[in-house]
């Protein structure tokens, strides 16, 4: 290796260690080593596989969230969209229609919900956090009132291939993990290789400049929320398949915060414009190790939530320090 190349590698290494990504990577490796040494049952092929599988669904949801966050938005309605569209699809399937048709209806519902939210944000100019927060309640309320009444919706009987999604394996790798990996690859290609991805970054970076340059921000926003809703639906299907049912109560769980935790911790700044799929993967792995370790250690659920909350808070504070929203606000110090 030439000297220049070695120097380049060294520079890259030091810049990696200084970035948020680098810090999280180091923390993840530390946590992994620590848990492996302290918890005898942690470092076993079975547990590692279970860890990746359990965290895959979170990772899939985080991919959708990442797309929206890169464009300077946020989508806290993902869980509502997920549970309502999947539950409704199961209800339709059990009332006599074919499973394929029912799943298509569920997908259409998810996409239209996402588009409606996108229209509210893009054309109504509602702040994304409020639009998606309110829309999430509306979607969940609609679902519980009109589409299904039971919280627990079982996978309809006689759906052989459907249960493979969550329980099958390809060459020993769970299908869930394969789906997560494929979606990662797909989103990576979209973000880095298509005009849609590039313009998404541009919008998140500077919406005003994007507009003047001739990018149509509004249709882009609608598309982004539609895609994130569709990804949420997909995650819901994987979840339902592996558990043989979907529980609408997830809407009231801390799942949406786990998704944000993955995205922010992985290094996708909430101020938009940067972050890659590898940040999602990194965040997913770190959160996965954290959750799995705490579960093996038999830490109470409430304390786990406290730990997650503290980590999320820290990640957001660090994010806003590392990536200030703009120069004007970051320099205000006269208090």
């Amino acid at each position: 290796m030439s000297e220049a190349a070695a120097q380049g590698n060294q520079a890259r290494l030091s810049s990696l260690l200084n970035s948020q990504e680098g810090i999280v990577l180091v923390l993840a490796v530390l946590a992994f080593v620590l848990f492996s040494l302290l918890l005898p049952s942690f470092f076993s092929p079975g547990n590692i596989l279970a860890l990746i599988r359990s965290v895959s669904i979170l990772g899939i949801l985080a991919l959708g969230m990442a797309l929206v966050v890169i464009a300077r938005g946020i989508d806290v309605s993902m869980i509502a969209t997920m549970v309502v569209s999947v539950s409704w699809a199961f209800v339709i399937a059990r009332s006599g229609y074919s499973l394929e048709f029912a799943l298509l209806v569920g997908a259409l519902f998810a996409v239209s919900a996402g588009m409606l939210i996108g229209v509210l944000i893009a054309f109504g100019e509602v702040a994304p956090i409020f639009a998606t927060l309110a829309a999430g309640s509306v979607i969940y309320g609609l679902g519980r009132t009109f589409f299904f009444t039971l919280e627990m919706q079982n996978v309809p009987p006689g759906a052989g291939w459907f249960s493979l999604i969550g329980q099958g394996r390809i060459l020993g790798v769970p299908v869930t993990v394969v789906i997560f990996a494929m979606l990662c690859l797909a989103l990576h290609l979209v973000l880095s290789r298509t005009w849609f991805g590039w313009q998404t970054y541009a919008m998140g970076n500077n919406p005003g400049a994007a507009r003047i340059t001739g990018i149509s921000n509004r249709p882009m926003i609608v598309a982004q929320y539609a895609i994130s809703a569709l990804i949420a639906y997909g995650a819901g299907l994987v979840l339902a398949s592996s558990a043989s049912a979907i529980n609408a109560r997830l809407f009231n769980s801390t799942m949406i915060y786990d998704i944000l935790l993955v995205v922010v911790l992985g290094g996708i700044g909430l101020n938009g414009g940067h972050g890659k799929v590898r940040n999602v993967i990194l965040g997913t792995i770190f959160v996965g190790i954290l959750l799995n370790g705490m579960t093996i250690m038999n830490i109470a659920y409430t304390i786990q939530n406290l730990v997650k909350g503290v980590v999320l808070l820290l990640a957001i504070v660090i994010d806003s320090l590392v990536n200030p929203r703009d120069e004007q606000t970051s320099q205000q110090g006269d208090l």
Binding site: Y201, N206, A209, I212, G214, I215, G273, H274, E327, D334
Partner: protein, 499 residues
């Protein structure tokens, strides 16, 4: 007459550039003192120093003969200095009384008591403002009254007005002048920044003219005429190489086809029935002082802003009537607007140079390949980065790390890669180093020579004279004067721009 404020050799520099240089300025007790000058002449900076917003870099400021330096606007307020902003300093969702007594609320407040106190205060000043009215429902003149009432309540004796009459109707202006007279009658001193020469000549006792940060003239108002003021504002000695060869030596390009025409275009109060034409193959210079609406006119033409829906006038692009909702539509038809504030809406600042430039191409929809990448972006933007001579230490540098000149070149390249036929440069050399200015000017000339219609908006007269073949002057939302480069001179342009 006692001199209440004195500046001695006052200098205020921002990042090494002096905005105000060695100014000796005095304000007397009970006088109305007008400050005049071009955009960027240093009027605002000087008054902001007095109001405690900036400290002086060097020199002295004396109040009542004693040297002072303020650490904050509140500090200046304690010395009786009040800067009256247009309307920014009032809280719109509170009523007049609450605004007047803002900052001195007790632990428990009775609105009625506050209202009564405000009523008495306003009556003493003879202001006809209802103390219980919400500030958001008041007009511009009434808001000014509230600002002044608040300042008087804080025992202010020096009032600074920055462009107070720009948004007022003629009737409101009369009220405002009466008010200034009354303040003067009570022994207060007033500093008055304005571009409206007639107003200044009629109400000011003394006039000072600033140019490029230096005080050019101070005298009794009766010794000034319009001509003398304009002369003082523009009489620049052009010695530096950049603007050295005067524009007169140049042969104006002949106009080609009419590309853009605005007919009676209006937008709110900023643009009022503006009419102008832009022709292919030449540079049209657009000059105007603050509030003239020149940027707004061009932003409307480029679809960045929308003109009034009713009585908004007519815009034709190459003979075809257009009404753009979004800039995208204008971009697709070959109109490029290059922003005056590249940080705000010009750059994708954490991206690289090639990415920034290539995004222009993507947005135009003229990208030939559907699968793209950094390599593709570099290939396609290389030509323009080369043409614009963007210099950086490496290909991966984020544009936020570039110098102002190189950033501006990136913004220009991002627009030129879209192959526009009408290019609007808004302050193309603001915050740009001298070397880059020359290169940007060369590009502008080349575009016009190649047959494009080019508009250059600038506040700097030498730049306008140096580049333009034809000059339009905007004032109060209208185009008030059109001249060829052969007829134009600094005095003539400035004479049209002030009023």
């Amino acid at each position: 007459m006692t001199e209440i404020v004195q500046f001695r050799k006052a200098t205020k520099a921002f990042a090494g550039n002096a905005a105000v240089r060695d100014v000796d300025f005095t304000l007397r007790q009970g006088e109305v003192h007008a400050l005049l000058g071009e955009n960027g002449a240093g009027k605002s900076t000087l008054t902001k120093v007095l109001a405690g917003l900036y400290p002086l870099t060097s020199g002295e400021m004396l109040i009542d003969g004693k040297p002072v330096s303020f650490s904050s606007p509140a500090d200046a307020m304690k010395h009786g200095i009040a800067m009256v902003f247009q309307e920014t300093n009032l809280i719109p969702s509170m009523n007049v009384a609450q605004n007047i007594f803002l900052g001195e609320e007790r632990f428990f407040n009775r609105l009625r008591g506050v209202n009564i106190k405000a009523q008495q205060h306003l009556q003493r000043l003879n202001f006809h403002v209802e103390p219980t009215a919400l500030v958001s429902t008041l007009g511009a003149a009434k808001k000014q009254m509230v600002e002044i009432a608040r300042a008087v309540h804080h025992k202010a004796r020096i009032f600074i007005f920055d462009e107070p009459t720009a948004t007022l109707t003629p009737e409101e202006k009369q009220h405002f002048f009466a008010l200034v007279e009354r303040l003067k009658g009570e022994g207060a001193s007033v500093i008055f920044i304005s571009h409206a020469l007639e107003e200044v000549l009629s109400i000011a006792d003394r006039i000072s003219v600033l140019r490029d940060g230096a005080l050019i003239a101070t005298d009794e108002a009766r010794n000034f005429t319009r001509e003398r003021i304009v002369q003082a504002m523009v009489g620049r000695q052009l010695t530096d190489a950049l603007y050295g060869d005067a524009a007169a030596k140049r042969v104006a390009r002949r106009p080609g086809d009419k590309v853009l025409a605005l007919e009676n275009v209006s937008m709110g109060k900023a643009v009022r029935s503006a009419t102008l034409s832009v022709f292919a193959g030449q540079v049209t210079g657009l000059f105007g002082l603050v509030g003239a609406g020149r940027t707004e006119m061009m932003k409307i033409a480029a679809g960045v802003l929308k003109r009034d829906f009713f009585h908004g006038g007519r815009i034709t692009l190459r003979g075809e009537a257009v009404r753009f909702r979004v800039p995208r539509q204008a971009v697709r038809r070959g109109v490029a607007y290059i922003t005056e504030d590249r940080k705000l809406d010009g750059l994708f600042d954490t991206m690289g140079i090639a990415q920034n430039v290539f995004l222009g191409k993507l947005a135009k929809g003229s990208n030939p390949v559907s699968v793209i990448g950094l390599g593709e972006a570099r290939r396609q933007s290389a030509e323009w980065i080369e043409t614009m001579k963007v210099r950086s230490i490496g290909a991966n540098v984020r544009v936020v790390e570039l110098s102002g000149g190189n950033q501006q070149k990136v913004v220009i390249a991002k627009s030129l890669i879209q192959a526009p036929s009408l290019i609007i440069f808004d302050e193309p050399t603001r915050g740009v180093d001298v070397g880059a200015i020359a290169e940007i000017h060369r590009i502008i000339e080349r575009l016009a020579d190649a047959g494009a219609a080019v508009v250059v908006i600038s506040s700097y007269l030498p730049e306008i004279l140096n580049l333009s073949d034809r000059i339009l002057v905007a004032r109060q939302g209208r185009i008030v004067e059109e001249m060829t480069i052969d007829e134009a001179s600094e005095e003539k342009i400035m004479y049209a721009a002030v009023h």
